[in-house]
Symmetry: C2
Subunit: 110 residues, 2 copies
């Protein structure tokens, strides 16, 4: 008797040492994981796991590689995480300098 | 005066109509967004946005496209979302049939 779990791997670099199979309606599955590889030791992938999604972090990525990833993923469902500079509204002028300073920085608007 | 926000786009298919620039230490930035394109209308991307990460969902993806995405992202930081079948432990045999049934299904182990 089995049960299904969904899980997320740690965010790590260098997911090498595995192959996939499937595609289309069937889904993408881990076909083979090389022993002692990062896929096995760091990501703990196992043969038979279904890959539901992959999040690729763009820090220190080569332009060409980012471009290819974006091009190949274009037809599919994607979600981007963005950093955006936005203008601080005029009405903040009436607040104190100290208050203004606190408003600057990173804010999550999920 | 500006502030920075981080935000996530909706999960949608077909992120077309934009170009990127940058790479390496600098980061990847949205260079141009075509008006009336999905990138503009559906994803609300704006020129100057920094792409921190992209999550690609593998439902209904072609094998070849999934393979390319995994190959190009291999050197970089990634996170996978997986579905895995696991064996239900023997000690569950002592529980009631109804209880067993409740254990079967999707469980998040984030």
């Amino acid at each position: 008797e089995t049960m299904e779990v969904t899980l997320k791997t740690e965010v790590e670099a260098g997911a090498s040492g595995f192959s996939v199979k499937g595609g289309g309606n069937e889904g993408i599955f881990i076909k083979k994981v090389l022993k002692e590889s990062p896929a096995s030791k760091i990501f703990s992938l196992r043969e038979g796991d279904q890959l539901l999604s992959a999040t690729i972090f763009f820090d220190n990525i080569k332009y060409e590689d980012a471009l290819k990833i974006l091009q190949y993923s274009e037809p599919y469902r994607v979600q981007f995480s963005l950093k955006r500079k936005i203008a601080v509204q005029e009405d903040l002028e009436h607040s104190t300098a100290r208050h203004k300073k606190e408003r600057i920085g990173q804010v999550d608007v999920l």
